[in-house]
């Protein structure tokens, strides 16, 4: 029998050994949920900020002229990945040590990306290559490039990880990928162009503003895909992979953002500077409210929706109980706002402001703002593990 003293010594020794190992590896992040990731387009790095102290922990330089676009942490918290738009490469960073562990060549101009729920597959969308690169996170290698898309923008995995839905901004359909075989299975048309489309070649032939993302409902049963040219949101039943309802919203909806309470979703309509609030239980527009120009994102926190108007310097606020406007927060003048993420407690927003190279932290309840400067050059987006508002533009 081991004595109590012996066991205590053994535990202490193990702890010391672990600590020594960690120190030897220069561990910088022990809790992946404790950081905000910031993708800095012009300083070509991913910066990490402590959520509690708002201090910068460190950054990972990716290379000259990489221009990273979107950052995401794997669901297991082990890796952070990004696509370098001007480098045509995917970058994989080890979270604890903040080391760049792998650089992988992908297709042209990689932008948005997604992880399968089990963290095994990293799908990197290549909008100018019209493809998706499949990266196996077990071996950290690209195993396949899935062709056949038309400017694939955003990818969303089904909750069981068996399918991935791809928004095609250069077309009016959502692609369904079989994740087991990494093949494009089906194209779901959101809605046909109206009969008068042929009279309006400037709009329908000049430049397609199609589907940005198929946004899943909180229960994963339905996906909501806005089509910019058609001004509609198609509701896709994920069991049958077909559109079950088409909801007309305002002109040129950018995409659908899903509320956290499962009641409402919002489309920012850049065509007329409004937002459409969709009641997702009844699949109809509950309100159309005035907003601002050039909207790039919507975040939900504290019972409110925060809509980012990138060129006006304002964040528009809406009360999601009354569905009424609740003022707007002035972030600055002559600045460019990018996108934001929300913390997992739904209390604070972390908004990238690229002109002054800062992240603006907005308290959802009080609407007070705090600025964290010198986060890197041209912060383009932010990301928090397990946040419900992780997106890019």
């Amino acid at each position: 029998m081991f004595s109590v003293r012996f066991v205590a010594r053994l535990v202490l020794a193990l702890c010391l050994a672990c600590a020594a190992t960690l120190l030897a590896q220069d561990i910088k992040i022990t809790d992946p949920t404790s950081v905000v990731m910031i993708v800095n387009r012009d300083s070509n790095d991913i910066a990490f900020m402590d959520i509690k102290t708002h201090k910068m922990i460190g950054s990972v330089f990716l290379g000259n002229n990489v221009n990273p676009h979107m950052v995401m942490m794997s669901p297991d918290g082990r890796y952070v990945v990004t696509g370098g738009t001007r480098a045509n490469k995917a970058f994989i960073i080890d979270v604890p040590t903040l080391k760049l562990v792998k650089t992988i060549s992908v297709d042209i101009a990689p932008e948005h990306l997604a992880f399968s729920p089990d963290s095994r597959w990293y799908y990197q969308g290549n909008p100018q290559g019209d493809s998706i690169s499949v990266i196996d996170m077990a071996s950290l290698t690209k195993i396949k490039t899935i062709p056949g898309f038309v400017e694939p923008l955003n990818i969303t995995f089904s909750s069981d990880g068996s399918k991935a839905y791809v928004g095609n901004y250069g077309a009016h359909w959502v692609g369904v990928v079989d994740v087991r075989r990494h093949e494009l299975l089906k194209k779901i048309q959101i809605a046909p162009p109206p009969g008068v489309a042929k009279l309006d070649p400037d709009r329908y032939l000049g430049e397609i503003k199609g589907v940005n993302i198929a946004m899943p409902s909180p229960d994963g049963r339905y996906l909501y895909a806005a089509d910019g040219d058609l001004g509609v949101v198609g509701v896709i039943d994920s069991r049958e992979d077909k559109v079950v309802k088409v909801i007309r919203v305002g002109p040129n909806p950018w995409r659908v953002y899903m509320g956290h309470d499962g009641k409402y979703a919002i489309t920012p309509n850049n065509g007329d500077e409004t937002i459409s609030i969709i009641d997702i239980r009844e699949n109809k527009v509950a309100a159309t409210l005035e907003a601002g120009p050039d909207m790039t994102g919507v975040n939900f926190a504290g019972g409110k929706a925060f809509v980012i108007s990138s060129t006006s310097g304002f964040v528009y606020v809406y009360n999601m109980q009354t569905l009424k406007p609740a003022g707007r927060i002035k972030i600055g003048t002559n600045i460019q706002l990018e996108t934001a993420t929300t913390d997992t407690a739904d209390q604070k927003l972390y908004l990238a402001e690229s002109t002054n190279h800062q992240v603006v932290i907005i308290d959802a309840k009080t609407e007070a703002i705090e600025r964290v400067g010198n986060v890197g050059l041209y912060p383009w987006g932010t990301h928090i593990m397990d946040s419900k508002d992780n997106y890019c533009h």
Binding site: V196, K324, P325, A326
Partner: protein, 479 residues
Amino acid sequence: MLNMRDVSRFGSRLLRGGAMAAVASALAIPSIANAQMPPMPQMPPMPPASAGARAEESVNESTDPKALLERIKLLEQRLADLESSTVLSEPETRVKRVEVWVDPEGGQHDEPVTGAKKVVTYQRERVYRRQTINEKIEEALSGEAEKSVQVGVSAAIATQVAAQTKGAATGNSGHAYALGSADLFFTARVAQNTLFFADVVGLSGPSPDGEIGGLTLLNGFTARLVNQNELNLREAWLRTELFSQKLSLTVGRLDLTNTFDHNAAANDETTQFLSDALVNNPTLGLAVNGTGFAAVYDPKRSLNFKLGMQQSNTDATNLSDSLFSLAEIGYFATPFSLGEGNYRVWYRQANSTGSHRGAFGVSLDQKLAPAITLFARYGSGQAPSTNGNSSFSTGHHFYSGGVQFRNGVVFFPGDAWGVGYAQTGLGTGPRERLTEAYYNFGLTERLKLSFHLTHVLEKQPAAGTVGFLVPGVRLQAAF
């Protein structure tokens, strides 16, 4: 609106079209230079540059088909790489507003120091970012566009026919009318949050209002008509926004109906109802545009406040005798779990008769469903007499209401239709009852075609009641 995505896509196309052929030509591959390029196949990872160069050298003189194919593959890969990386790698320069601290000796510090004063200055900043050539071009073009004067056009022609349905023959039955209108808009940003706007309008052609003398206009465009075939300056004003853009001040020659008595479903003769009674509230009394100002306080919440003053009579020699004063409170509500509704109450005073003549009114629009909007207006008070001058009749009573349908219940997505009723009465006895229905086809984003059917009953105490049915067609282009 162009966003980064549009810019990037434009670049991709540009490069695929022009740069590929040019590069192919430079690399002496006639088949590529002269032909349309097929879609780019998936390529293996690019070998290192030195290895590529060696491979190229080794096959340069080779006539082996396999080696040539390899070379084509390599060149295609280079082409693909060039497509995505034909960029400007020179540093990007921009100017930033910075806060610095200046000490009493004039020394500038980046951080606070004792005795130094914080001042704002501007400083160049350099960043190292690759930009495609088209991004640079697009930036330059949009920068130029922002600085220049923007011009817009709104042109419409409304053709109507009058058929008398009631009362003693007036001789106007069967007459046709066509009034054309063209507005030229000029807008320019002249300072931070400050805009200049001017609207020059020209009208030509007869409208039914010249022959059917109603209390309100059967063709809302007639309200703009000063003289036929002449250009008139309708509006020319400066607007600035203060206090985090919550307060806007507009000064110049104004049309205050663009600020007061709004209505989501009945406010625009170019896209909604044609009859003026379903566009404006006659008791508001704003028959002509004039010099004035408008202040709007809108914190982007439920309540907003408006205040305005405007010259009421263009013939007056001073403003003291010809001034409209208006105030409005607007409230945004979603009552009974319905959609969004806008409720407005206004009060107006005019001093053109020596004494202050007041009026008040209400304008509301309420969505019942995403596709259905109810609207109503009410007004009471002393308003200008119907001959367009500034003398005020005693007692003017007005109400209107109706419904507008959009989305779901239309033929095409951009269509809208509506039905409205308006009743106008003067204290001296004349009364007008007007009903209009319209269907507006949104043919393109810039072109709309609408069909209107209006029925009006005009009751004159001395002459009895006459009725007219006025079908019409309106073609409107805006760009």
